[in-house]
Subunit: 322 residues, 2 copies
């Protein structure tokens, strides 16, 4: 496929993001190192602007707009982190943004998107098609539609997190990355193949929705019903065309983690590492932990993708206070 | 006072800690910068080993032991972070450690201290005197007693956190530091006077226990009853002799924060900055926030002292799920 992004696109994205995205910290835990007999490096994108890696891809994509595109602005449909990432990036770059969100999206998320200056267009998710609404808005207003993962500039932007990790800690033996539509995993794989070619790259998705695993093993994109899982950022129904091409080529395997393992990982992050991670952000760590002592002696990277979870939900999941 | 530590002692402590203590990240928040009109730098000691700055002072003090002291080991009395800091430092340095803890200390804290290899001696806090027990053990076993804050090597070690902050972000206009016995505040003030002489240095203690404020204003150490506050790390009854000398000389003022402000700060740290901070660790931020727009245009440092709070307690305090 001719428009597949490459590692050079990741490098170009890193240059565009410099001074705009946070260079997030890499944390370690002697407790987990002792448990696995390994050296584990957590790249903490929950400390990224707006609380998730999604800022990287959105800002990179909008930075590539030409003058006409900037004047007309961007449209996106999302009820999650992509909405806020697009709204914040558009504000920083001084362009209009319209975000299509379901009427029953959490009020906090709608407010956060508006707080970043985005115009929110609400739709009824039971009777209306958000993609059609997005395309119509794009056409009527001359806006550019930026999808949440299946876009070369988005994938390249997401790859900058893994690039920073390798730049900071050097080559690794294994890298665990959460997987929804595959933007973060595909971008991370591009960085890994260039900077740490021997590393095994693993995608991790919820046990309840292993469409990525099925796709990789069957060689074709598998579509599933929206999976029931606490990992709301990974409730995708299928991989993207671009992301799947890269994943097929550059990813070693796709693993899964159960909701119970995600809760246990959230508890570990909060109590031992003092950091708040959303369920989806725990996928990589949960899968690494399930590997146990098979990782002994290895240098292991884990991408912690985000921390956007309501405190009430966080507490009801982790402390049994429902 | 001849044994007051100096900035040179902080520099020497930093050299001893290199490769043993984490160089903790400095986090920022565009939300809080916009709220205050300031640039705020959070030095996050909740990511320090064992979850609090206390590791710095303990490890520095134990590193200064001579061969005989190392063989005999260390004794400490504490029910909090100092206990774990001494136990972990002793294990890393290969010496015995005995920690005197109250019989009714939380089981998790006793277990954590034992987990770090410390021998725990329990006492009845209603009928026995922990200092007397500590002194007796020190005498019987030839062990060296390391107090939690009023010791020159402990103060110098705690000062390395602020030193790292100034080394990373340069001079500041104001620095907010939480205050219990004063070890962290005194050490931070030594670093500030050397590296950012124009900075206003503020200690912050719980509104319910403002003995430090009273002491600074009256010029003599004021003793109070154990204050009722959620900031359990600042439930001290009085400053130390050494810490007070440094605080009198180098600290501009002592401020207070209410328990309600600490809870609000914990919520902000968790939801916006994705980090778990114990109530005591929120004192500096809560006081800075109370200053509001008077900090506009300023460069402000905040030491976040630790993150050791049970998840259940954290959730009952912050999410109203009691």
């Amino acid at each position: 496929m001719s428009n597949l992004p490459t590692y050079e696109d990741v490098v170009a994205a890193a240059a565009r993001l410099a001074g705009h995205a946070h260079r997030t910290p890499v944390l370690t835990s002697s407790t987990i190192d002792a448990e696995l007999g390994a050296s584990v490096y957590f790249k903490c994108e929950n400390f990224q602007r707006m609380g998730a890696f999604k800022f990287r891809g959105a800002f990179n994509a909008l930075s590539c707009f030409d003058a006409g595109q900037r004047r007309a602005g961007v449209v996106a449909f999302s009820s999650g982190n992509h909405a806020q990432a697009i709204a914040l990036s558009a504000r920083l770059l001084g362009m209009p943004a319209t975000i299509v969100m379901p009427k029953d999206a959490p009020a906090a998320k709608v407010a956060a998107t508006r707080g970043y200056g985005g115009e929110v267009v609400l739709y009824d998710r039971y009777s209306e098609d958000r993609e059609a609404i997005g395309r119509r808005l794009a056409e009527e207003r001359g806006m550019t539609l930026i999808p949440p993962y299946d876009h070369p500039h988005v994938i390249a932007g997401q790859g900058t997190a893994a690039k920073e990790l390798f730049d900071e800690v050097g080559p690794l033996d294994a890298l665990f990355v959460c997987l929804g539509g595959g933007g973060l995993l595909a971008g991370s794989a591009l960085a890994a193949r260039a900077l740490s070619p021997q590393a095994k790259v693993y995608g991790v998705e919820p046990e309840a929705g292993n469409d990525g695993q099925q796709s990789l093993r069957s060689g074709a994109i598998v579509h599933i019903e929206t999976p029931q899982t606490i990992a709301d950022g990974a409730q995708t129904q299928h991989l993207g065309k671009l992301t799947f091409e890269i994943i097929k080529r550059d990813v070693d395997d796709i693993l899964t983690a159960s909701d119970a393992e995600l809760v246990e990982a959230m508890r570990f992050f909060a109590t031992r590492m003092k950091t708040v991670v959303e369920p989806t952000g725990c996928l990589g760590f949960a899968a690494a932990r399930r590997q146990g002592r098979t990782l002994a002696g290895r240098r292991v990277g884990v991408i912690v993708s985000g921390g956007n979870v309501d405190l009430e939900r966080f507490c009801s999941l982790t402390s049994g206070m429902a």
